[in-house]
Amino acid sequence: MNKPTFRTAILLLSILIAAGLFPASAGAYSYGSANTEAVAETFKLAAGKLNAEPPDWTAAKAAYGEIRSELESHFGKDVTKEMDDAFAAQDKNRVLADWKGVLVLNLDRRFTYAEQVFTDYNQAKTLLAKARATYETLKPYMTEQVSDQKLAELDQAFEDALNALGNPGLFGVGKKEPNPDLFKQKIKLIYDTVSPLFQEAGGGNMATGEPGASPAPHPPMTQTNKTNTAVTIGAVVIVAAVAALLYWRSRRRKS
């Protein structure tokens, strides 16, 4: 191997990498979380805006607008109609109560589907995580009515439900068998504790307290944008591979 070759190679690659690779991956290292829940996140945003003095109705409504169609498809027209009316009346307490009712419906929705896809470890786990994100959002609104012990119990119930899903293990180490009955029992405990607390919410008819009774026009995990990300990544990888191959061939022809 001669030195000039070596030097050119280093130079070339350094430029290539500095120019192409790094800006793209800058910031990729972060504590991102895949288990946030859109309905819950927008609720936090809207609650913050409405809590201001004076309430920021424009921002709150915009947040609601972001997820309105999703709410309609998951929970039916009655729910969005009630919320539209609450927004139109600019009744802060009614909007927040409605939205909490929606969160309870969402908790039920995530639990129901998690139970349905129980054998699909990955999906069930994701759905359970989304249920938990929903629960964590409701938590501050529960502390005044529920004891610290009860809250701790609910936290533990989520842990137990997660463990009840089993675990494939890492390279087979740490494999755990699933326990569907325990899972059902734990999510029922959580739902039965949480849902009555928000019974008064939503003008009476939002959170019905019946597990599994919510309208279900969509299969689980319908957040298509998430699936698309995976597809996009796959496509980019394939395109890059093809491009590299073509470049390689053209170089070979020339030399």
Binding site: S33, N167, L170
Partner: protein
């Protein structure tokens, strides 16, 4: 040079190595005091990327090693530390082998000592962070890389590709070191003396082998998450960086480039990474470098190496330097600058290079200085490792205080400390928060709760909405050595004042 003197030398080296291992084993850090450390520790009981135990991209070999160590110690924190220590001790061999490219055995041993006792890296070698294991594997990888570059046989390539697979499965952020593998691959392709057919088949087989070793850990990860598709969705979710503002800590990613550069090179790499913020070590390192430089200038007739050996040296140096440069650029631009440990591989390579280069001047003064330097560094490093073992990290002190006051309906708003507090099972509600508006809505919902906030939260709230000092009352300040707990080495705790 077989002889009595050399035998004594070897015995001394082995004794020192054993002492290093035993000292480390008795000073394994008992703390999981940072977000990442808690992630790793929890992963030993249940591997679950979604629950961030550990966080993406999974570090599967590191976790596997930790699980293996649990046959020796039940404590997951010490198990991970022990795995790190074991690998770091083993890395003495590749460091020695690489140093032998330039110097005689005794000096190569000195280079090993200098590299392994670098204070900040030494603390990493005994705490539950993946850097300890990754640094060790990095040295193994660099050695196999130099070997395959010197003589491109299939076996040597396999070894290097295997080591790179181990490295990536232990810490993906060391990926830029893969540049070395790529360079060797390209150079092998350009070897004109070999027939085209052989070059073709070699290029394909080698690339295939390297890819297969990467696929191994990726597949293991996917299986642990219950499927490729789900894992990819998960990774994409992490990549979106929803919590980017959190990782930043004091130094936001929005830092101007010049300041970022200065902080990375001067602070993270040299002052913290190399000298552990000790003026004495910085001065000694400077003296050693200057003395070596002077000696090189004085001595016109250095021992001239054989041309073939000279090329060997240049190859190894160039290859490692190229890798280090690639990593430096990546760490500067892509890594969280608030955490000096991201510069650890650079510090490790720098001290190694300084040591080897200095002793190659072959003068008594420089050698004496190098030995003195190694001794000083060992003393300061050992002291830091003991401090890490004994001192309660600030966040543990905070958790302890919260246990002391189990007032009903207390809510603590925090940043990244939340992860540790939950892990320690503090008997109060802990909530991670970033946005002031969310906080206001939250506390409005619970009028009878006692509200506490940590310093980072309070500072951020003040930045967001210019609150007066009177909104809070200082409850306490918890401190530990900022070198061991960067970002969260000082944690003030405030109580929120509702009336004001």
């Amino acid at each position: 040079m077989p002889g009595k003197r050399s035998q004594i030398g070897w015995a001394a080296a082995v004794v020192l190595g054993l002492a290093y291992a035993v000292f480390g084993a008795y000073h394994l850090s008992p703390w999981a005091a940072a977000w990442d450390e808690v992630d790793f520790v929890l992963a030993l009981d249940r591997f679950d990327l979604l629950a961030m135990q550990p966080h993406a991209p999974g570090y599967p070999y590191f976790i596997l090693g930790g699980r293996l160590m649990r046959f020796i110690t039940e404590d997951p924190v010490r198990a991970l530390g022990l795995w790190n220590l074991l690998l770091v001790c083993s890395s003495a061999y590749p460091i020695y082998r690489i140093a032998r490219r330039w110097t005689a055995p005794v000096y190569a041993c000195l280079a090993v000592a200098l590299t392994l006792t670098l204070p900040m890296n030494w603390t990493l070698a005994v705490r539950p962070m993946s850097e300890g294991a990754a640094l060790a594997i990095l040295w193994w990888y660099l050695w196999t890389l130099v070997r395959v570059c010197e003589k491109g046989t299939g076996g040597r390539w396999l070894a290097a590709a295997f080591m790179f697979g181990l490295l990536m499965g232990t810490r993906l952020s060391y990926a830029p070191f893969g540049l070395g593998l790529l360079l060797v691959w390209i150079l092998a392709w350009r070897e004109r003396e070999v027939s085209l057919r052989l070059r073709y088949s070699r290029a394909i087989l080698w690339a295939g082998a390297a890819a297969a070793f990467q696929l191994l850990w990726v597949a293991g990860l996917a299986a642990a998450e219950g499927g490729i598709r789900g894992t990819m969705v998960l990774m994409a979710g992490f990549g979106e960086g929803h919590f980017t503002q959190w990782g930043g800590g004091v130094a936001q990613s929005g830092l101007p480039f010049r300041e970022r550069f200065v902080r990375f090179v001067a602070d993270n790499w040299l002052w913290s990474g190399m000298s552990a913020q000790s003026a004495l070590l910085a001065v000694m390192a400077g003296l050693l470098a200057i003395a070596a430089l002077v000696m090189y200038g004085k001595k016109k007739s250095r021992a001239v190496a054989h041309p073939k050996r000279r090329e060997q040296m240049l190859t190894a140096a160039g290859l490692i330097a190229a890798c280090a440069l690639a990593y430096a650029v990546w760490a500067l631009l892509g890594q969280n600058i608030a955490k000096p440990r991201h510069a650890a591989p650079l510090a490790s390579l720098t001290i190694f290079a300084l040591g080897v280069w200095a002793v190659r001047s072959r003068t008594r003064t420089v050698t004496a200085l190098a030995v003195l330097f190694a001794a000083g560094q060992t003393a300061i490093g050992a002291h830091l490792v003991m401090l890490q073992h004994d001192q309660w990290p600030a966040v543990y002190q905070l958790a302890d205080r919260l246990k002391d006051h189990p007032a009903p309906r207390t809510v603590v708003y925090t940043w990244e400390e939340e992860r540790v507090l939950r892990y320690l099972n503090v008997p109060v509600q802990t909530v991670p928060i970033f946005t002031y508006e969310y906080f206001m809505a939250d506390i409005a919902a619970q009028p009878s709760s006692r509200i506490l906030l940590t310093g980072s939260v309070w500072e951020e709230f003040r930045r967001q909405s210019g609150l007066p000092e009177s909104k809070v009352r200082l409850v306490g300040v918890f401190r530990s050595d900022p070198r061991l707990d960067p970002v969260y080495g000082t944690i003030p705790l405030y109580e929120w004042n509702r009336e004001q």
